[in-house]
Subunit: 409 residues, 4 copies
Amino acid sequence: MTDTLIKVDLSQPATENEQIHNRWHPDIPMACWVSPGDDFILETYDWTGGAIKNDDDASDVRDVDLSTVHYLSGPVGVKGAEPGDLLVVELLDIGAKQESMWGFNGFFSQTNGGGFLTDYFPSAQKSIWDFEGMFTKSRHIPGVRFAGLIHPGLIGCLPDPKMLADWNSREQALIDTNPTRVPPLANPPMARTAHAGKASGELRDKIAAEGARTVPPREHGGNCDIKDLSRGSKIFFPVYVDGAGLSVGDLHFSQGDGEITFCGAIEMAGWVHMKVEVIKGGMAKYGIKNPIFKPSPIVPTYNNFLIFEGISVDDNGKQHYLDVNLAYKQACMNAINYLTKFGYSPAQGYSLLGSAPVQGHISGVVDIPNACATLWLPTDIFEFDINPSASGPIKHLDGSIDLPLAPDK
Amino acid sequence: MTDTLIKVDLSQPATENEQIHNRWHPDIPMACWVSPGDDFILETYDWTGGAIKNDDDASDVRDVDLSTVHYLSGPVGVKGAEPGDLLVVELLDIGAKQESMWGFNGFFSQTNGGGFLTDYFPSAQKSIWDFEGMFTKSRHIPGVRFAGLIHPGLIGCLPDPKMLADWNSREQALIDTNPTRVPPLANPPMARTAHAGKASGELRDKIAAEGARTVPPREHGGNCDIKDLSRGSKIFFPVYVDGAGLSVGDLHFSQGDGEITFCGAIEMAGWVHMKVEVIKGGMAKYGIKNPIFKPSPIVPTYNNFLIFEGISVDDNGKQHYLDVNLAYKQACMNAINYLTKFGYSPAQGYSLLGSAPVQGHISGVVDIPNACATLWLPTDIFEFDINPSASGPIKHLDGSIDLPLAPDK
Amino acid sequence: MTDTLIKVDLSQPATENEQIHNRWHPDIPMACWVSPGDDFILETYDWTGGAIKNDDDASDVRDVDLSTVHYLSGPVGVKGAEPGDLLVVELLDIGAKQESMWGFNGFFSQTNGGGFLTDYFPSAQKSIWDFEGMFTKSRHIPGVRFAGLIHPGLIGCLPDPKMLADWNSREQALIDTNPTRVPPLANPPMARTAHAGKASGELRDKIAAEGARTVPPREHGGNCDIKDLSRGSKIFFPVYVDGAGLSVGDLHFSQGDGEITFCGAIEMAGWVHMKVEVIKGGMAKYGIKNPIFKPSPIVPTYNNFLIFEGISVDDNGKQHYLDVNLAYKQACMNAINYLTKFGYSPAQGYSLLGSAPVQGHISGVVDIPNACATLWLPTDIFEFDINPSASGPIKHLDGSIDLPLAPDK
Amino acid sequence: MTDTLIKVDLSQPATENEQIHNRWHPDIPMACWVSPGDDFILETYDWTGGAIKNDDDASDVRDVDLSTVHYLSGPVGVKGAEPGDLLVVELLDIGAKQESMWGFNGFFSQTNGGGFLTDYFPSAQKSIWDFEGMFTKSRHIPGVRFAGLIHPGLIGCLPDPKMLADWNSREQALIDTNPTRVPPLANPPMARTAHAGKASGELRDKIAAEGARTVPPREHGGNCDIKDLSRGSKIFFPVYVDGAGLSVGDLHFSQGDGEITFCGAIEMAGWVHMKVEVIKGGMAKYGIKNPIFKPSPIVPTYNNFLIFEGISVDDNGKQHYLDVNLAYKQACMNAINYLTKFGYSPAQGYSLLGSAPVQGHISGVVDIPNACATLWLPTDIFEFDINPSASGPIKHLDGSIDLPLAPDK
């Protein structure tokens, strides 16, 4: 039986678990050690450490303290791994915790986090998803059910001091361009809510003061929120410190490309069964700066899509230059509007795009001045036909069910 | 036998063919008429109308007059189609012209067109691709061969006068923010090289003066360069003028997401066999602003990928805010650098990413401040193994072959 | 432009074309020669040489002279190929003849050919399929349309004299066990209708007297009717004579596993674009007795199936021992019965199973005494939903359309 | 948390567990009851109830008492289900038992069970497979590793008395044609080793005397050994008795089409998470005789195949009439011989074909006198390249490792 090296008790605050941390820093003590070739299991909290509940009230989403995230399991030290190596991590399997077979998706309030479409959806809302084995469905979004493409939203190795300093300085420089923006451009270190695993005393204080926040993806991987880093995939991570220091968390039962709802995918507590190997000197051998990976041989085969296009012109008719971000926003809004014709509320549509295995493709980035992005909506996840036809759409939902909403106080 | 409604003689200048046009304008006369339910064939020039030759000299790419593109076949009038309808276009089949079984991919000079990675590849270069039935390979990029995902880069219906005016004004407003930029932010109408099909005299002059350029994708579709609009797909286009006015051109034998090389995919002359239907009032029924489509049931099954991540930090270490465009650039450069370890030149790698069926996914757009994009490189298109291993990469190419390059004069 | 080495004029009798033959014999003169590395095109008749017409009368199917089939294009000599080599044939592309964009599927009369389910369908019937680019549909079977998985039903190299003698003797031994059976157990050489290509005089007479009939698949491949030998696939054929002598014919626009209707798939005249290479001594190197092949990277992605089971118990309740043939018959009849609930006639169902890309799997062959076979019916080829539901099936067809039937005279 | 309705203690003999049975009979008492819409978990023994050990000695395979199999979990009564209904069973998830992360594959001795290729492999042998999350590999077959397509080999509902009588009589009639055959043609009821769940006394004796053996697949499904009945699939079972009486067992981590090794797939103990619904009167509504099913949306995407053909001519050159069974044998032997060129022993090849997700297709069943079957071997499961090439095969294994063999005593 495979060893579970990090255990998580969902009834215990994440901050009390010494094998959990919520900042990136080279000095975070290793939570445990393994050898190349080992396979082992790490349990994880959901990214908020349990702040969001399985109920019909979105005030927990509205009031969440985002300085506390993400609660990560690790770091795992790998014997013999040195800076310049590649750490090969195979995700042998991933699952939800038996006592917690559900997940949540939400939109943050624009005043506390925001999200990709926060201008359209400024209030906190959430949907709860129940897991039925490999499948999930939500009481807040009827008519849809799909298999999970389970993956960690966040996984990566500890940075070295130079890299950490670079992260903090470049992000602070960005913040300085508009320091009072809501939501902020980026998040600087924040000592108050830092959790540094086993570290205590001065070491803990140093980590808390300097530790990079976990929200952005960075050179080491980190919070990439790539839905295809799913169970069965194999990832090659750059190593920056002795022992590598691999941490993982923010498990998602499913997510659409972009994790557009920010809070986020279908978020869950769970466990990761993984195996590690080391390629000595692999960073230079392969010219690796960011992680690379091979996707899983087992993924949902939802191959019938309805594809929505978006271009980089905003709702006011203003032209933006090759802005893929805006083009994808437009593609998402086009899809959401389309879904309303079948009876979904816009919020249900938005939540669905953040939760289901939709694809977001960078379709054109050279045809000045318009970028073109496409949103691929798998049609087989719906219990009814959503394809266009000469007879027009049928409203399958009567509007009696919608996502809970918590207005700003 | 299906009727070929528009014929193209590659030895004749595109400007002399009255069923070809290179601007968007509601007054371009219909080249021919069909009825809903009809299927028919349209032949097309390559997008440049034959400016690029099957040789080993990139000066044609360097010197191309971009004000002449794209040469489109159409507009095809569809009887009974009215503004507000959806025109359903099924791409029954697409192929190269029998007398022209090859295509080209190139990078424009930074001073004449540029491209996605023009800062890294500022000079004109090109690669030639030979077609072997369903497959293609290039004498300029050894070791790779793949099946085509054949599609039109450009397809759409004529705009109405109001839409045309909006296009021109919003793009001019963007140009006005930096009118001397090289390459330009956008391209305004240009009468000199306009080709208005059958129009002549004052009508021709009006179209030439007002006609929108064909480069950007817009609300009607147009130059979307979506690789998945491939043969077998079914597209739902908004109709803005009586008869719809469907035009098509810019055929690609294959392309990667983003068409990053701009010049462009594997560009070819060919033919499109299509069928049209009309959904009356479909725009309002389905809330359609931009085209939507269903992809083909027949696509290449290259399912083994190596996936490269990129984040929105530039080469100088500067942090950009949720910039997917930059993140995708970084993912592309990561892939190109990786390929050099196996013996490819950077230019070969760049051309490959523009030509092969690589995917570009918008992986994360909410994890402030970094966007995350992924570049999916199908590994089965290579004749050797490009996966990472403990033993390190093998150089399969000796550098003796590279893409022709034409320095700026 | 690729050379067409064998041309076919559909208005000319196949027997008058010297590059066509309808028997297997080592002495059939090569129709043309190519070199390893060459690619070339061969045109082909449909397998009957034009005996079946695009009309609504099945008497042509009833009256066909089966001793005349199959009309094959070839043999193509490959320079340097010797016995013991492997001939590598890549099917670069396959298509229908432009002047003949249709195909037929039929059931032979039980007294003239029969078929897999001839006990249930004893009379001659046929359906006609029109091609729309990559797609096909039939006026005789409404409500279904699908993309072609185009392939040659018959392809292989000439046998050597020893192999030919073995074929004829083992098949005659089988015939001798029940020489008056209708339909026969096998077909011996028949000189009257033999066509030996360029051979004339005594040589022609020798070939006619000894030449093996083309119906069965044999060690050289031949009439394997494997739907997955489709365009884009690569086949490794044993070579038995100098020059290999590759012949091809019996093109199918589409077929289900088993080609259960015998007459046959969606049969068509067309062309094959192919490329040949030689692996010297490959038969011994790889221990090859029968051909092996790699399927195409481009195949229809109809991944939603309804799967029917069958076991080796016959309709009289009699138990047969691990009889996969019977189990597959039962699975087919189960599918046909199921389709009648949606309004299809049994004949329409039978024809569909022979024509559409259904899969037939050998699911269990060890669980004595019952074999288990499964019939995989792709549900996306139907224009309506054929999945089971609590509300029961809907009859989408009113029975007004059925397959033409020609009773025995 | 989902209820586990049947628990299995692997250290307890299966015959002592009252929720386990090893015969089919309408009077076996329900082990538990559920309602339509319920989801629940059933644990299962491996099919032999623990007779085969995780060691390197095949004597357990040689000596197994086949009259004891299969140990099934159930029957589960479904409230309201009546004869004529369809029981819809969704396999929400399937896994191995945490304390038993391994499986076995073996060949029976020809004198005790035999198997598909028993004439070639007459002695008992076995291979042990370790599970690494979603993946498996064997210490007895180096160089291969793949993801599991996990499924129950055996699942179905209780027969009614009439059906049971038919089974027993038709199988006895077959046995009577050659009652001393080794291995036997079929297996009649055998009271000695019958386990009738909760039944005791006279009821137990009746069931033991009459209960049908579990080896063959029959009208109710049963031991179909269909690899595609995998987790995520949805099956529609005929109901014959009040409450349906659903039983399941014989879990396979992976299997090739045909389960050719008989002992069997990669056999394991585990659990099934399932959900049931009822379609009232569904058998008549849909004309269902045997179960039908929809495959899972999540299956391994091993899409690169090497395909081997086989025809119905035996090793002595004797011609058999349209014998798919023999054709598949020949295809299997062709694949096994091919694998020996890369260093595998024939036994390793045979075991691999029984264990890996190979496909067996009924390719041609009408081209008299030869049936054609194809064996699809996925090439991505190998750690080295097994495709043919001009340079010939490389022996990757040195023969030092082989399957344990236990000669007949």
